[in-house]
Amino acid sequence: MGRVLLALAVILASALPTGAQAPSTTVILSTTTSTQDSGLLDVLVPMFERKSGYSVKTISVGTGQALALAARGEADVTLAHAPSLEKKYVADGKMSNRRLVMYNDFVIIGPADDPAKIKGEKSALAALKKIAAAASRFVSRGDRSGTHNLELALWKQAGVKPAAPWYIESGQGMGATLGIADDRKAYTITDRATLLAFSKRVRLVTMVEGDRPLLNIYSVMEVNPASGPRVNTVGGKAFADFMLAPETQAVIKTFGADKYGQPLFVPIAGKKDEDF
């Protein structure tokens, strides 16, 4: 009986698409949940596969994990949005050829009654200081994601050490965090794409937007072959080049406009960090 079952299992398993192609035809892209959740990669990845003949495995995780995976050579190319962390990995020789691809922006949102009185504040840092001074509830991702990294950098610049009880760490993705902030009538920082996607479910309103530190810049980086065995450097570079190609940038420029009434990302191929 066991043998029959094993044989059946083997037959069933062999019917599965194994995807274990030669390494040169597969590219592993490690990226953040926000690019996946926005639906952008569902458009760009098939485009790249058609053009290049590569098959892409997109691993969407928090930015911290996406970069850590790439640094171990478990991916070939990475699309992330944590500039300071990215530069560190480049400096460590784990990844190279960091190039800016696009940006969207973060907004600080909060309950309509605005207990910390930050509505209309131009400076994100000033707004955070007020939230801390008023000890108003604030929900943090707490997951080392790109959004969380940006939030932590802002607190540091604001000279505030956020702490419980008013500072709540959700440990979850942006969507779930918005739900918690909404439920607790708390402030939080979110990327605009997720906020637009959740606009029907979340009653929190936009408090601060448009400040330079709230720009969310995405870059693409290629994994160095020395970072681990079996890194597909050629494929990784092909995907990075694709992200910066004029046709791709044109797609990014209009992506999301039909669904949300405004595009979600601004393409910035060729620009440098200093330009912002």
Partner: protein, 231 residues
């Protein structure tokens, strides 16, 4: 409440429209968890029978280990299978991380102790005098084991149900070793997490209904077989 109603409507619409992506996700979940269940049966039934019938030093320890394994957290299995299958891991040269095969392995690891444990209990429940009688009638030891396992086959269907039900609704391991890649390793549960993250609650509800229906149908089928004749 209107969200739940919308979700149910959406589920029916998705199924009726024969949405290709939903069907391929459904089919993949069924294939992966089906293959993993069969693997677990192939490993767990002999292991459970041996543990039930043989007496050897350290047996109690082994049985305790199996019983602990019945509650093995999928995310722990996912983590260790991922580490094994990493390019830099010991099985890296297989290059099967983020493929359905990797999910089959992880789910089989989760289901095997469940099958082993239930088989163990089922076989042990076959009265000992029956075994002695078989031997007395001139059966070889191998024949005796075969008859006893056959005798326990109906309670052992519970092992199939528990194993399959456990892994098709499992999320932690599938997400980690599969990567939730669209069109390749997206299963019902990982798709649900993704759609919830995107704020598409109606799609997530539709997928939950599909999953529950699928598990129900499989269990119903097995129950019909199990209850057909009094054991």
């Amino acid at each position: 409440m209107d969200l739940v109603v919308a979700g149910v409507r959406h589920a029916i619409a998705l199924l009726l429209a024969g949405d290709a992506e939903v069907w391929s996700i459904l089919l993949l979940s069924l294939q992966v968890s089906g293959a993993a269940t069969l693997l677990a049966l192939g490993l767990g039934i002999p292991a459970g029978a041996v543990l039930a019938l043989a007496r050897f030093p350290g047996r109690t320890l082994l049985v305790s280990t199996v019983n602990t394994g019945m509650g093995l957290p999928p995310v722990v299995v996912g983590l260790f299978v991922t580490l094994l299958l990493w390019r830099s891991g010991p099985l890296g040269e297989w290059e099967i991380l983020y493929t359905p095969a990797a999910i089959v392995i992880a789910q089989a690891v989760i289901a095997t102790p469940i099958v082993t444990g239930i088989t163990l209990a089922a076989v042990q429940n076959v009265p000992a005098p029956f075994r002695l009688q078989l031997l007395g009638l001139g059966a070889s030891r191998r024949q005796m084991v075969w008859v006893v396992v056959r005798e326990a086959r109906l309670p052992m269907l519970a092992a199939v149900m528990a194993g399959f039900g456990g892994i098709i609704s499992e999320i932690g391991a599938s997400m980690m070793v599969g990567g939730n890649i669209k069109g390749q390793t997206r299963t019902l549960t990982t798709a649900m997490v993704l759609e919830t993250g995107k704020g598409n609650f109606d799609v997530a509800i539709a997928l939950s209904i599909l999953l529950l229906t699928l598990v129900f149908l499989v269990n119903w089928l097995l129950t019909v077989v199990q209850q057909r004749r009094p054991s």
